[in-house]
Symmetry: C2
Subunit: 125 residues, 2 copies
DNA sequence: TGAAGTGTACTATACACTTCATACACTTAG
DNA sequence: CTAAGTGTATGAAGTGTATAGTACACTTCA
């Protein structure tokens, strides 16, 4: 569990995004068990209610499923699993373009900035 | 005054960003007068205190200056004016890269997504 | 059977932040 | 001088999030 919270966004949404990223990168697989609410709360040092809220959000988005009181699992719905990666990318690109478009920067210049920053960031990570 | 507010970010910060964009694109020039707090509030349909807070924020960032109760003006400090554009770009790129880096997308693929979205957006605007 | 763990739900509280309402001192135009 | 407009300051109100505590039905397992 390698996750650091920022103060800007709600914790439960950051948890949701974390799980989406884990799925998108294959670190969490179809049908895989995930920690219980209380266990996750302990791992991340957050309140159990916050963990519950994150899981509830993921249930509604059909990322995970829960039957009775069995441990929750990553969904086995292939369409959803495949769409998560695409969704994360499109969402990030959308937000970025909206935030930058008023500057009226030439396309090649913009791409150069992105390429530079992205590669320097990947070199570290 | 062409500005639409979202519900996610504080209004006063959206106002600040709006002014920065106007400066970065040359629509607001060095030393130019800007509306009074109450006048801006009327134009944007916001509370005068919210306008005040936006102006206060811009004062602190030295984007605008106010002497006595004369109308506030865009700063004439060339270094600041030149840095605003760069700042907006770098900030947007930084946020974008941070939000996307965990997906581990090949660089060329990422650039293709950005290029596509950016150009389709500029075609409309 | 009984204890522990599970998901779920509810209320109450605290805190940070934004926005709103009001007031005050000052300057300027009529 | 008076009235309107200006910038500024202060406290109240509203909103959303996180936390705390409790409760209940259910399953699992010793």
């Amino acid at each position: 569990m390698n996750i650091t919270f920022n103060n800007r966004d709600p914790v439960y949404l950051q948890v949701v995004k974390y799980f989406k990223e884990e799925i998108a990168t294959g670190k969490l697989a179809s049908g895989q068990e995930i920690p219980s609410r209380r266990e996750l709360a302990g791992l991340l040092q957050i309140n159990p209610n916050t963990a519950q809220r994150a899981y509830k959000e993921m249930e509604e988005q059909k990322l995970i499923t829960t039957e009775g009181n069995s441990p929750s699992r990553i969904t086995t719905d292939g369409r959803i699993l495949n769409s998560i990666r695409e969704e994360l990318i499109q969402e990030a690109v959308e937000v970025f373009v909206q935030s930058i478009k008023k500057i009226e920067l030439p396309t090649d210049e913009l791409l150069r900035f992105v390429k530079e920053k992205y590669e320097s960031e990947r070199a570290r990570g």
